[in-house]
């Protein structure tokens, strides 16, 4: 009995990431072409193709593949989720919001194109995400596409992403912000769209209701995990390492996990969330679950 013959080849997460990011970048590049009026489309492309890590699209595709779908079924949703993530960053960086000059290591959208164009480019990306999903999803029954569009809309609106932003803005400078309040912000501001990405992938890939709900729980945990890790990085890393303004949460007097419970407890909490997340994957084919497990570990241990 030769042991090495029975051992599965170890999953190469790095090349998986690179390969998926490549296909997503290619799809995004093709989806938002340089049409008239050029300046709006340049502004959309500037932020969309600025080389993000494509974590959300990857989650979407991995989730689709886990329930038995293939990459092409989830690609339009993966792109839509990234368009909306980008749009929320463009609007978040505006002077009337977080007033950021730097994003993904480059000047923010409004710094390059002006505030008016930045608002419009964000609006256009938001609208196009829905158009793209509705028009360009292939190999999936219309009923599933409609359901996925409903999920996407819920995760980014006043019950999702926007709710988190509103409570976040209202919390600046508040003295008594508890854990529950902080969790509301993160569950909505960050986790909702990550959840959306995973749930969209599961729906489009043909997952059963039970599978979709398990993956929803998985995504909620890693969404919160994502933000806890972000908070930790914000106080422990420099701007150069992060590609964005470090320590800005402290400067803006924003409440964070390290501020509320300390760095050590924050790290423990992150580990617990990662465990809880991976528990949800137990019932699935473990080989197919490998990318999601690796993604959860990546989110937990990333350095920027």
């Amino acid at each position: 009995d030769n042991n090495s013959n029975n051992t599965k080849p170890t999953f190469d997460f790095k090349s998986y990431m690179i390969q998926k990011a490549d296909s997503v970048n290619q799809a995004l590049d093709g989806a938002v072409s340089l049409r008239e009026p050029r300046k709006i489309h340049e502004a959309m492309r500037y932020s969309l193709l600025a080389g993000g890590k494509r974590v959300r699209p990857m989650l979407c595709i991995a989730s689709c593949e886990l329930v038995g779908g293939d990459e092409s079924m989830a690609m339009s949703a993966a792109c839509a989720v990234e368009m909306i993530h980008t749009m929320s960053l463009i609007h978040d960086d505006l002077p009337c919001m977080d007033n950021d000059d730097l994003r993904r290591g480059k000047p923010t959208n409004h710094k390059v194109f002006g505030e008016d164009v930045a608002v419009l480019a964000g609006d256009a990306l938001l609208a196009f995400a829905f158009e793209y999903m509705a028009v360009s999803t292939v190999g999936v029954a219309p009923s599933r596409v409609v359901r996925a569009i409903g999920e996407l809309a819920m995760s980014i609106g006043s019950e999702g992403l926007v709710a988190g932003q509103v409570v976040d803005i209202n919390s600046e400078g508040l003295k008594d912000v508890g854990l529950e309040h902080l969790e509301f912000i993160h569950v909505h501001k960050t986790a909702a769209l990550l959840e959306g990405a995973v749930v969209l992938g599961a729906i489009l890939g043909g997952g059963s209701d039970d599978e979709v709900e398990k993956l929803r729980k998985f995504a909620r945990c890693i969404g919160l995990l994502f933000q806890v890790v972000d908070d930790i990085l914000d106080v422990t890393k420099s701007s150069k390492e992060l590609g964005k303004t470090a320590g800005k949460d402290l400067v803006a007097d924003k409440v964070t996990y390290p501020k509320l419970i300390g760095i050590e407890k924050s790290r423990e909490f992150a580990n617990k969330l990662n465990e809880d997340a991976q528990e949800q994957l137990a019932g699935f084919d473990q080989e197919k679950a490998t990318p999601l497990i690796a993604l959860a570990n990546y989110i937990a241990h990333r350095q920027n």
Binding site: P37, D116, L120, F130, A153
Partner: protein, 310 residues
Amino acid sequence: TSSSSSLSVPSIQLKSMHFDLKTYWATLIGEINHKLDQAVPVKYPEQIYEAMRYSVLAKGAKRAPPVMCVAACELFGVDRLAAFPTACALEMVHAASLIHDDLPSMDDDQSRRGQPSNHTIYGVDMAILAGDALFPHGFRHIVSNTPSSLVPESRILRVIAEIARAVGSTGMAAGQFLDLEGGPNSIEFVQEKKFGEMGECSAVCGGLLAGAKDDEIERLRRYGRAVGVLYQVVDDLFKAKTQSEEYGKKKKKGKSYVAFYGVEKAMEVAEDLRANAKKELDGFEQYGEKVLPLYSFVDYAAEGKFSIDD
């Protein structure tokens, strides 16, 4: 019917004079306002819902997009219940566009529909987020509330694509950008993008929901676009007459037919648009009296009577 089209046109126009537009509108607007009120309930965090409701439920809103959507759906004999969720969504995305257009970095308008604009009440940050929330809220409303017994999912996908295209980077956002930028773009192009798109999209969505044929959809497209621009030209003419000095100042940042061509020529443009819109409707002869609301909608837009009871 054996009547030729050259005979049927005046007969339909004659009938449209007897069509009780005021009752039709008043009833429909009442239903739409009720549904919009339910469609945006207040939850935590209240502030954002209040900002959304402030613009969506504004008293001065004419509800032209939802009314056109419902009327276009009913043209093909499909119950208005099929169209209400999309009609409400049109009003939401329309409100979202207007909120963002009014921002200080855009048109910098302090008032809208006779009320303070959204950002002057809720702040620029909340106004941006209210707009950002209203777009997806509209799409979600369509998906969650359109009766599947009346509308198959494939049609819902076409409706969502149509609305997204209309507000997007080649539609209303393009119009707003070209308007802000000034430059050599023709006034016709900017006005069609800024105001024609919403009318076009509203009429087309009504047709899509009802399962209209492709050539009928294209006809609704041309009709809706003409009425959308007509509505704006007449509004410009009305404002030019009633508030000439203030109007001249406020419109500096944007283009209007009146400012560009003068009153005479703008009136000619309005007459052409009115005639073109009606000519498109002549192609719906086979639907008989069901086309009357869309006919009278043209006259309503052209005559600029904007004071139907709220």
